[in-house]
Subunit: 142 residues, 2 copies
């Protein structure tokens, strides 16, 4: 099954797209760093310094201001994430994230995934609308 | 099963407690309004103007700066929510929310619940740490 999470951000789709693609921005709302700009076919290393973690993603599609598709991992068998950017009007974007391939009975995996996307999208909204960069990396898994 | 969500907020537990209890604050990060101050045994009407919705909660416990326990609805059979405030140091609080009574196979209900708590806690953090009050009421259920 898919896990889908959506939020509205008061910025145009171009700005939301750049927040993901531009490695100087990701550390303001999500991972600590991207190793490079997200481009189609690229493999990007994402670091999470606060958790001493890193992992790779493979970029499958980048359609400016419209869509980002990537796969977790670099070996081609990770789950696929689709970020769709839908203009509500010229200054508001619906950011619609779907991650596919969950087993419905893996409830804890689904809940962790939902928590992560909801948190990231709220931090993204705060960053793009208000320049707030200090909300990330404070969820606690107990 | 329980649904548990936790975040750290750079404010003392007293401030986090007041954000829930004081009806002038809830509209900054969660519902639009509380009908009255949260006190033990009280029944509070929570409104969500953006969604044209309202509902009641029954307050079961209010232990200042430590714990809030309430039940959704006023008829005594709603799920119970426990908010625990754990001081990490004098200026940081772990806000630990558990809602009990889910069926594990009700995956969508659990995911909606996880989404709601994660979003509220992130908005609460932004409100208490930075005075940001404009993040709430922007999730979209599609």
């Amino acid at each position: 099954m898919d896990n889908r999470t959506q939020i509205t951000v008061k910025k145009p789709p171009e700005d939301v797209f750049e927040a993901f693609a531009d490695p100087s921005q990701i550390g303001k709302f999500w991972f600590s760093s991207s190793s490079e700009r997200w481009t189609p076919g690229g493999v990007v290393t994402l670091r999470y310094d606060e958790y001493g973690a890193e992992g790779a993603i493979r970029i499958l599609e980048m359609v400016p201001a419209e869509r980002i598709v990537f796969q977790w991992g670099s070996d081609g068998d990770g789950r696929v994430v689709t970020v769709r950017l839908v203009p509500i009007d010229s200054q508001i974007t619906l950011v619609d994230i779907t991650e596919g391939g969950f087993q419905p009975d893996h409830v804890h995996e689904l809940l962790d995934n939902k928590e992560g996307w909801t948190y990231m999208l709220t931090c993204l909204k705060a960053y793009l609308e208000l320049g707030v960069t200090t909300l990330r990396a404070s969820l606690v898994h107990g």
